[in-house]
Symmetry: C2
Subunit: 207 residues, 2 copies
């Protein structure tokens, strides 16, 4: 429902917003929020959990703790610690009985996506999860283009392995478009990537 | 193959150890190693990963980082940080296509297992994962008794919820025995709990 007030304001009923109004809102909210991909995924995960659609979390950063102080009447303070290399990807969880595992990467490039964004341990971990029957993929955000792609892990492996043969240090956007599911940033959830997971599950069933 | 040497030593072929020898070895190795439950699970997870049986990890402890120093020619040092409450359980991963989620708890008690070992957020998280079709449970170690139990999450929920009605602050060992799968510490893997996961999957299929 859209009401045009005489003074030029437009009121949109929240229960049934018009398409036009939604787009206007989108531009206003999503164009200017400047969230990182990580923030967008974390927001989406909150939405998916609260609506019981999926239970997916970002794993905490692994830290090597060296020194902890226990001040009286106060909580423990870590005084010396170091960042550790993670052994896994950043995100995992469960959707409709399926194990889900993925890494999220963003680039400011407008075409090529550099493979150096990935680490060997992330590839190895995705391979192992894939072999265990998990739904594994990468979420790639082209920050400048505002485009998001869900790239199945198998396609990532192909490009990763091809490095050794053809020496290509990056993936071309056109190749990402070819093998990925493109999703659009939205509102509740911010990044509706579970729809893409459902598509991956269905295409696996067809095989 | 067992060889009795004249000097009283017993040699056991590693390919076919006798039952007796295995037990002797067990007592020697497992009785004295004094590993915590967490160490036992982490060791087992390494074994399961390297044998491609399951990909399960302990999640890192969540830390709130306040201050980081970046000394020249040296890696970043965290100078002030605090422990944060986790939102999830400690362990999750994938086994044969199934999402697996569990918490590990040990007690020095010989009979009752205090429910205060669990936090509300752990119960909530297990419930959500269970509703998403995950295989959810708790590994309970009776340190003094050297007994290990895999208790399905549903049974934990029953005892947790009963607190409100009957005020019982703990679970009796006999009740744990009744609803759980008991496993024994072993060698490679240290704690063969994936067999119990397989049993949980099969009993769910029967329902």
């Amino acid at each position: 429902m859209k009401i045009n007030y005489p003074d030029g304001r437009i009121f949109n009923s929240p229960s049934k917003p018009s398409l036009h109004a939604t787009n206007a809102k989108k531009k206003l909210i999503f164009g200017d929020r400047g969230m990182t991909l990580e923030e967008e995924i974390n927001e989406s995960n909150k939405y998916y959990r609260s609506h019981e659609i999926a239970v997916i979390y970002k794993k905490p950063t692994p830290i090597q703790i060296v020194k902890v102080d226990y001040p009286k009447r106060s909580k423990a303070v870590i005084k010396e610690a170091y960042f550790r290399q993670a052994s896994t990807t950043d995100y995992n969880g469960v959707y409709n009985g399926y194990y889900v595992d993925f890494e999220a990467k963003e680039t400011k490039n407008k075409n090529t996506f550099p493979l150096k964004n990935f680490h060997q341990h992330q590839i190895d971990h995705l391979r192992m999860c894939q072999r265990q029957g998990g739904i594994c993929f990468v979420i790639i955000k082209y920050v400048t283009l505002k485009r998001y792609f869900i790239m199945p892990a198998n396609d990532l492996f192909e490009h990763w392995d091809a490095q050794k043969n053809d020496g290509a240090k990056s993936i071309q956007l056109k190749d990402i478009i070819k093998c990925s599911i493109e999703i659009e940033a939205n509102y509740n959830p911010t990044l509706p990537y579970v729809g893409a997971i459902q598509q991956l599950i269905e295409s696996r069933k067809e095989k």
